[in-house]
């Protein structure tokens, strides 16, 4: 097909009755809708009569199943061309009943490798950069070279010079292999998952309260009366959770409160259905939570009975049996009780906290005081008959990517006061981003991190900074974009370029000895050898910088397993051939590890790792050990047993009750207490109580003014004298968790060919910016932390102290995006597309992590806007709609 012709095929092939049907789940967002793959050989097609197609339905049909043209593709299966139809499972009983789907999952068929489509750029063989050009080589040579230089680096520079940064979610089989290599093979602390600079908690305030970030089930979001949605519109980013469970569910009449500066479609729906939009100033959620807490306490609206039963009192906090509270990660990061509280103490704190005063909170957050009061009434005020509204609290990146520890801790305390956390319709959970495919092999080397919390307590290493500071000689990245996903993106990318392509030692042939000598000189001169594994070229990581590029096989090309936001485990079936010599990442790791001389990496198939990792899952919330033991008893493989469970799968932790495998709908729920432990079930207290030493939750204080936040916030606010505004970032429905594939899908590539930025008319007008114009966002003061300061005393890691001690460098950053001018934004806040191919909006954000948790404040960019000119999309009818997102009657 000629790409320059807009294909108007008004026809789609139907699967014949004997088409093979395989089950899988979506490749993208956390919801993980159920899908079916129909596969049949090229050469014939099904018909419109019910007995002529695999659906058993007459066409035209006016409900699911239906096949859109973008849901059909031609690919290879066992070396022969086949038709593939991939549609949401119309028979699904969970997640997406009746076959609901998002635009991302709905176009899964377009991700199948087919050289007639834009997927022709899939990586197909290992390559080494010779004279600047990526050159095909064999797997054998490339893993030899990786092992040669790694052994030299480990002996000469030690394990701190060898690092990895990889996805955390692309299936248990791959992440377990990565973890085993990092922790048990190389034994390095230089590891971070794709979405963080360090290997630590995402929402540490929840953890410290004793709440697992994914404790809820989708039914809870369906059955609540009120949903408090902090930094998230689930319509955009948990699509089917919203359209199926929140617009519907057991209580379709629920009220939704959205705390976000962007009025997207879900927000508009909420406003029109009895809800509330709180367009908050970025980073100030904590002040909102404090004010809500004060209104609730002053009116006595708290859930007294729940607090008495489920919140630690002062004696319980201090009781300290087991590990107690004295020497835990909670206490390390909050420096011994700084923000520790209990209900009596918390009330006193709120009564004396200036930011909890309604007028002060309204000033800090930029929200009308009456809206804050209204929100407090909605979430907590008992009804006239004395019953309480069932309120659930969801948080996502607008919350924990702006003021990480304080926002998560203060939301946990607010939710607990309202009686949420461990029962149906009353939960506190993340909504989630990517799926839950991380599995540790244990033995982490975090204790080797040179960074320390005050008191010299263990703190995870910031891998990006460790690289930028020139400490890494060998870096292996897998399945990520790295720079645009992290902060001060241009500065990070530029430093990596310095150490790789700009280093004078560049290979000139594919001779193994030559490659080793050149790379040896490279690393001895302070440079770095960079290996990147991916399914596609990634600009600029592997197209411009990586020395070695490895082709990966992914979704649909290998049998894999992972969980979704409600911990539902499914098999993601292999249904087509990976292109060329593309291999699963666990295979590449196995080859490399064996050449390094490490034992225990001799896996032959994906299921080998699934079964090996089962034992390591036992103590965690994603435990599937019981399933693998059952499979073995039945003489099956673990993957086969999981395949039998189809698109329903089973919710982890999997338990054995009365001889049957039973899933766990909700964590911390006392109704999970099943009495005698049976079979291979592993008993964990957080199954039926909170994840603390007592099983009761911890109240946490979050004073608005403190040395972990206030000085940083003052330094990074937009400066009126420079004409700056907030330039936050985020993703929209059509590209959520699918950005790596979107430009290979013709329809989505047309929808979003280039990153956009949504700007309020009041902010656009002074610069003459109209929808469709190209706009530069520019920040002349982007702060980047340097070095690995060791905290000794309280406040040693505060922004001011880091600045005094020379640990803050000032850089600059910019990006270019297509303007969408719309009043859907709060004035003074523009929102740029996050991590979308084309430009790096995070270049205007500061690479200075929250000193408490180590997480970045991703959303807190700022800068001036400058009009460049008209984009190619301004007067173009074929690409990039520039219409506002919330349009309703």
């Amino acid at each position: 097909m000629n790409e320059t012709v807009v294909n108007n095929r008004d026809y789609v092939p139907l699967p014949p009755p004997d088409a093979e049907i395989l089950t899988t789940a979506c490749s993208y967002c956390i919801v993980a809708c159920s899908y079916k793959v129909y596969r049949w050989p090229v050469g014939r097609e099904g018909g419109q009569a019910a007995d002529q197609n695999a659906f058993g339905v007459e066409f035209p049909t006016f409900g699911a199943p239906w096949v859109a043209r973008s849901q059909h593709n031609i690919g290879m299966h066992e070396g022969r061309p086949h038709h593939f139809v991939i549609i949401a499972d119309a028979d699904a009983e969970v997640v997406n009943p009746n076959g609901n789907y998002s635009v991302r999952g709905g176009t899964l068929a377009q991700k199948i490798y087919n050289p007639d489509t834009p997927t022709r750029d899939r990586l197909k063989y290992p390559q080494i950069r010779i004279g600047g050009i990526l050159t095909p080589v064999s797997w054998d040579l490339v893993t030899d070279v990786m092992a040669d230089i790694s052994q030299y680096i480990l002996s000469e520079y030690g394990e701190h010079a060898w690092g990895m940064k990889t996805y955390s979610y692309e299936y248990f089989e791959n992440t377990y292999a990565i973890s085993k290599l990092v922790n048990r093979g190389v034994g390095t602390p230089v590891y971070a998952p794709h979405d963080k600079p360090q290997a630590a908690e995402d929402a540490a305030g929840l953890d410290d309260a004793g709440i697992n970030s994914f404790a809820a089930s989708y039914e809870d979001w369906g059955s609540c009366d009120v949903a408090f949605l902090s930094g998230v519109d689930p319509y955009e980013t948990k699509t089917v959770l919203f359209t199926e469970w929140m617009m519907g569910g057991a209580n379709p009449g629920k009220q939704m409160i959205f705390v976000t500066p962007h009025r997207t479609m879900g927000v508009e729906y909420g406003i029109r259905n009895g809800g509330l939009w709180l367009p908050i100033i970025p980073g100030t959620d904590t002040a909102l939570h404090l004010a809500l807490a004060k209104i609730i306490i002053d009116n006595g609206w708290q859930d007294r009975e729940f607090i008495d039963n489920w919140v630690n009192n002062r004696w319980e906090i201090e009781s300290g049996y087991g590990r107690g509270t004295r020497n835990t990660r909670w206490q390390w990061r909050t420096t011994w009780g700084r923000w520790q509280s209990d209900w009596e103490d918390f009330q006193e704190f709120i009564a004396n906290e200036p930011a909890a005063e309604l007028e002060e909170a309204a000033r800090i957050t930029g929200l009308p005081a009456e809206d804050i009061r209204r929100a407090a009434e909605m979430i907590a005020r008992p009804r006239e008959d004395g019953t309480r509204p069932k309120t659930s609290f969801m948080l996502e990146k607008g919350n924990y990517w702006s003021n990480n520890y304080m926002n998560t801790a203060s939301l946990a305390s607010l939710g607990l006061m309202c009686g949420a956390g461990n029962r149906p319709g009353q939960v506190i959970s993340r909504g989630g981003g990517h799926q839950r495919g991380g599995m540790s092999a244990g033995g982490g080397r975090g204790w080797l991190s040179p960074e320390k919390h005050p008191g010299r307590r263990k703190k995870a290493l910031n891998v990006d900074r460790w690289v930028m500071d020139g400490n890494v000689r060998f870096m292996w990245t897998i399945g990520l974009t790295w720079f645009p996903a992290m902060l001060a993106s241009q500065e990070l990318a530029s430093r990596v370029a310095d150490m790789t392509v700009r280093n004078p030692n560049q290979p000139r042939s594919v001779d193994r000895d030559h490659l080793f000598e050149v790379f040896k000189e490279r690393v001895d001169s302070g440079g770095m050898v960079l290996v990147d594994s991916d399914i596609y070229p990634v600009e600029p990581l592997n197209t411009q910088y990586a020395d070695i590029v490895l082709p990966a096989a992914g979704w649909g090309e290998v049998d894999f397993a992972r969980c979704n936001a409600e911990r539902r485990l499914r098999l993601y079936a292999k249904f087509n051939d990976a292109p060329g010599e593309a291999k699963p990442d666990w295979w590449a790791i196995g080859q490399f590890a064996q050449k390094m001389g490490y034992e225990g990496f001799e896996w032959e198939e994906s299921n080998d790792i699934f079964e090996e990792a089962a034992r390591f899952s036992r103590t965690g919330v994603l435990s599937y050990n019981v399933l693998v033991r059952e499979a073995q008893r039945e003489g099956k493989t673990g993957h086969e047993k999981l395949r039998e469970l189809g698109t329903t799968g089973i919710q982890t932790p999997i338990r054995m009750v009365d001889g049957q495998m039973v899933g766990t709908q909700r964590l911390h729920d006392p109704s999970n207490d099943w009495g005698e432990i049976e079979g291979d079930t592993f008993d964990r207290k957080w199954l039926y109580a909170f994840g603390t030493h007592t099983g009761k939750a911890n109240m946490l204080k979050t004073p608005w003014t403190n040395d972990s936040w206030s000085d940083f916030y003052e330094a990074i606010k937009p400066r009126a004298e420079k004409g700056e505004i907030w330039i936050t970032n985020g993703r929209v429905n059509e590209t959520w968790q699918s950005g790596f594939d979107d430009l290979r899908k013709p329809y989505l590539a047309k929808r979003w060919p280039w990153p956009h930025i949504v700007i309020h008319p009041d902010d656009a007008a002074p610069h003459g910016i109209e929808s469709g114009d190209l706009v530069e966002g520019y920040n002349d003061t982007v702060y980047v932390q340097t070095g690995e300061p060791v905290g000794v005393l309280d406040g040693d890691l505060s922004f001011s102290r880091l600045m005094e001690n020379g640990h803050i460098r000032t850089t600059e950053g910019q990006f270019v995006a297509v303007a969408i001018v719309s009043d859907e934004m709060r004035p003074g806040v523009a929102k740029a597309a996050f991590n979308y191919p084309g430009s790096m909006a995070n270049s205007v954000c500061h690479a200075v992590p929250d000193p408490v948790s180590g997480n970045y404040r991703y959303k807190l960019g700022r800068g001036v806007l400058r009009r460049i000119g008209e984009s190619a999309y301004k007067d173009n009818f074929l690409e990039m709609s520039l219409k506002p997102r919330p349009i309703m009657s």
Binding site: V6, R9, A49, V57, F62, N733, F877, I887
Partner: protein, 184 residues
């Protein structure tokens, strides 16, 4: 039973269809017509379509700017909206290149969006009552916000004097694996 009436059966796993098989015969050897060409030379982009029945679906003199009306095309099962937008549009006809027509059934899961769901201020149809998808009528029915994996099918129009003539369809109607041509 119209497409709209049947769409109300969304959610049924095996919806009924009273439409006769005769109406869905595959268009064997259908000719291909170039509907519009954008740009010049090798980069030219063409919108192409198979043959459909030509039907007069309205009069230019009777159009009220910003108000949508409905018509049936290419057969009596398929309902579409006809609108004169306040701005130029892809595939738009008439002096202002702003007269366009689109199918009323959301290509996500078959929700119905009729004339009342047209928003003149933004030239958008929707949101779909099922899951809130919206469609940009200036960009060939492209999704603005939502879930449809295809643009809203666009009815190709021509102007013949005062007549607005439908001549074809761009896109596959929801529920169909082959568009009806409207030929008897």
């Amino acid at each position: 039973m119209t497409q709209k009436a049947k769409a109300e059966g969304v959610g049924q796993k095996h919806p009924c269809s009273a439409v006769s098989r005769r109406q869905f015969l595959i268009l064997g050897g259908a000719s291909v017509a170039v509907l519009a060409t954008y740009g010049t030379g090798a980069g030219a982009q063409q919108l192409v379509s198979s043959s459909y029945v030509r039907t007069v679906v309205g009069k230019v003199s009777e159009l009220v700017p910003g108000e949508a009306t409905t018509f049936l095309y290419p057969n009596d099962d398929v309902e579409n909206v006809l609108v004169m937008l306040g701005e130029e549009a892809g595939g738009g006809v008439g002096e202002g290149r702003n007269i366009v027509a689109f199918n009323t059934i959301c290509p996500h899961m078959g929700g119905y969006m009729g004339a009342a769901d047209f928003h003149a201020e933004h030239s958008v149809l929707g949101p779909c009552p099922l899951h809130l998808s919206t469609f940009d009528l200036t960009k060939h029915g492209m999704i603005v916000s939502g879930h449809a994996v295809e643009s809203l099918p666009q009815i190709v129009l021509e102007i013949d004097g005062d007549d607005i003539v439908a001549t074809g369809v761009m896109g596959l109607f929801y529920g169909y694996n082959q568009n009806p041509s409207g030929e008897a």
